[in-house]
């Protein structure tokens, strides 16, 4: 966040008017930026408490929308599904992504450059392509499976989770690799020199030092999974729904402050996560 630089002592006299004009401009810029960034969010949160049933006017404070939210089984179910998918896919993609990043930074193997490019693909290709590809993949493999074993599988929570793992791994790899770039490999040699075997070296030296990167990657994966629409839309089966898709469905019918309320709750989850990760990293 921007901050007005007031700590520096003015050491040039006679420039005070120009300085203060500059400060004013800087201050105004800061405020405008903040307004631009956060005003919509403030409005969203505020109108989750309004009595107005269209959520566009302030007609008094109420917690009614939150009460209705808790009674809405569909929305709650979607929220739980979303959390389940986000948590599961984050854990799996963080583990796989971290291991991939370590392997990519450490070893030189044949086809490394090609693999590198392949890893970035999910980040750059249009999401709709990724979604359709995953859909085709699931349809195809379920078809094969049924042919071979007679087992009938259906799209559902499992498929969304796998899809989310697939598209978040690349992001985790990118973030963890960035933190490995700043990691001094000689520290690992120093640890081994002092008698630590490979596992102990990883556990006591590498992991603690790249943990901020891993947490960053996990957080990114979690957020991406939480609010993903397109891939989720194509890979959930009938009957299961996740929050973004569910919210979209409800908005199409009618906008009520209930939507604001669920958004506010999601915001709360995200903010809590950011603070949590900051807290964990600060404590080290």
């Amino acid at each position: 966040m921007l901050d007005t630089p007031t700590t520096r002592k003015p050491y040039v006299t006679g420039m005070d008017s120009r300085r203060s004009a500059g400060m004013l401009a800087l201050g105004a810029h800061t405020i405008l930026t903040m307004v631009f960034l956060y005003a919509p969010i403030v409005v969203l949160v505020a109108f989750s408490f309004t009595r107005d049933s269209f959520g566009v006017r302030w007609t008094g404070f109420t917690l009614d929308w939150y009460r209705r939210l808790l009674a809405d089984q569909r929305l709650l179910g979607a929220a739980l599904n979303t959390l389940y998918v986000a948590l599961t896919s984050t854990i799996v993609s963080t583990i796989i992504g971290t291991m991939t990043a370590l392997a990519m930074e450490r070893y030189h193997f044949r086809g490394r450059t090609g693999f590198d490019a392949l890893l970035y693909l999910p980040i750059v290709i249009p999401e709709i392509v990724m979604a359709l590809a995953l859909l085709a993949f699931f349809a195809f493999s379920f078809g094969i499976l049924e042919l071979l074993s007679g087992l009938r599988l259906q799209m559902g929570l499992g498929t969304v989770t796998i899809a989310h793992i697939a598209f978040t791994i690349s992001f985790v790899v990118v973030v963890v690799r960035a933190s490995l770039k700043g990691f001094d490999m000689r520290l690992e040699e120093a640890a081994q020199d002092l008698g630590a075997n490979e596992w102990q070296t990883f556990r006591h030296i590498t992991l603690p030092l790249i943990l901020p990167g891993i947490i960053g990657g996990a957080l990114l994966a979690f957020t991406l999974s939480l609010d993903d629409f397109i891939i989720t839309f194509f890979t959930t089966g009938p009957g299961t729904s996740l929050l973004p898709v569910e919210v979209y469905g409800q908005v199409k019918r009618a906008i009520t402050p209930k939507i604001n309320a669920i958004s506010t709750l999601m915001l709360l989850v995200s903010i809590t996560l950011v603070f949590l990760s900051q807290f964990i990293q600060r404590r080290r």
């Binding site: 040699e189 120093a190 020199d193 002092l194 008698g195 630590a196 030092l209």
Partner: protein, 367 residues
């Protein structure tokens, strides 16, 4: 175990693709000795050290630690510790945790760890620093933590790769003395890599001079400086004048006669057999030749009339370039043993004099 061989390198080769980083190196490092490896950049010092530590394995040849072949034993199973040039302190641990790391990995009881860590920190005079993080320490202090972290494990051999390389000159000199006295107190074998010849000469019991992956000479500082076995060693350690010529006869006391192609005749000490007629190089250190105003008595060996070409006053010495024979330049240092501003007390360019040195001050090199 005293007076045994701590590290035995037998025909060790290390090849990286086409590069022979270490090329058939054989040497024995004795127990409790301060052994230095000295050589220009890229000569294979670090690679040799890394093979002893276990970070690299030889392409050919064998390494034995206290008589036991190490083969491909990983670093964490060798009782050898390293002080890295970059120190490689763990940034997320305090000084005490850094020093305790090795003992913790060996599952030493907590009480003993605490005691030994304190001991080690006292040894490097960092008693009050145990709670600090590495980034809160100066370069010299970090260096000492790295030292304590290695020594606390009581290794059989301590490897030090240019441990003072990152320090400024003054601190470096201080740490040299400290390291040396520390090594004498703990009695651990030190293998010390440096490319600073003065550092190697002042600290070492023995020095190995390396070049291009090969060990050229192993010896005490005096042996290395006074009796270099080849031109490279004579040139790399200290400064010297080289004069090329053909060997004549060698007298029973080892003094040979050498003639140059511009007709000068020299007499110099041989340390190895020299065949008459062979091409050899004379090496005369600048502080071992003298410049006289008057002609020395007849029969003085290696005496030539010369003209002073250049004079550089550097305080303790005056460095003088003289020309002899058909313009051949020769460098000699004269100690300024008198304190005076008198211009006549110092040589001036253009003056003439007589250059001479005793036969035993010059060395015949065959390689």
């Amino acid at each position: 175990m005293k007076n045994g061989i701590a590290v035995d390198l037998r025909n060790v080769v290390k090849r990286f693709a086409e590069v022979y980083a270490v090329d058939h190196v054989s040497m024995q490092i004795r127990d409790g000795e301060f052994f230095s490896m000295l050589g220009p950049s890229g000569c294979g010092k670090t690679t040799t050290l890394r093979m002893i530590a276990g970070f690299e394995f030889p392409t050919a040849g064998e390494i034995a630690l206290h008589g036991k072949l190490v083969g491909t034993t990983p670093p964490f199973r060798r009782n050898v510790n390293t002080v890295f040039q970059s120190y490689a302190l763990f940034p997320h641990m305090t000084v005490a945790e850094n020093v305790a790391f090795g003992l913790q990995m060996k599952k030493t009881p907590q009480a003993e760890i605490a005691r030994r860590v304190e001991e080690a920190l006292d040894l490097v005079r960092l008693g009050g620093f145990s709670g600090r993080r590495p980034r809160q320490l100066s370069g010299g202090q970090q260096q000492r933590v790295a030292l304590a972290r290695a020594l606390v494990n009581h290794p059989e051999v301590l490897l030090l790769d240019e441990p003072l390389g990152a320090l400024d000159l003054k601190l470096r000199k201080e740490m040299q003395l400290e390291l040396k006295s520390l090594q004498e107190r703990v009695g651990i074998t030190f293998i010390y890599v440096t490319h600073d010849q003065e550092e190697a000469l002042t600290m070492s019991d023995r020095i190995a001079v390396m070049n291009a992956g090969k060990v050229l000479q192993v010896g005490t500082p005096t042996e290395i400086y006074e009796r270099p076995v080849c031109r490279f060693v004579a040139d790399f350690i200290g400064e010297t004048n080289f004069i090329e010529g053909l060997a004549g006869g060698v007298e029973p006391d080892g003094v040979a006669t050498i003639t140059t192609d511009d007709g000068l005749t020299f007499r110099a000490q041989t340390t190895r057999p020299v065949t008459p007629g062979a091409k050899v190089t004379l090496s005369i250190r600048p502080e071992k030749a003298f410049l006289a105003v008057q002609s020395p008595p007849p029969g003085t060996p290696n005496c030539f009339p010369v003209t002073v070409a250049r004079v550089a006053y550097i305080g303790s010495d005056t460095r003088i370039d003289v020309r002899l024979g058909q313009g051949r330049l020769f460098d000699l240092w004269e100690q300024n043993s008198r304190s005076t501003l008198d211009r006549d007390a110092y040589w001036q360019p253009g003056e003439t004099g007589f250059l001479w040195w005793p036969a035993e001050n010059a060395l015949v090199l065959t390689e």
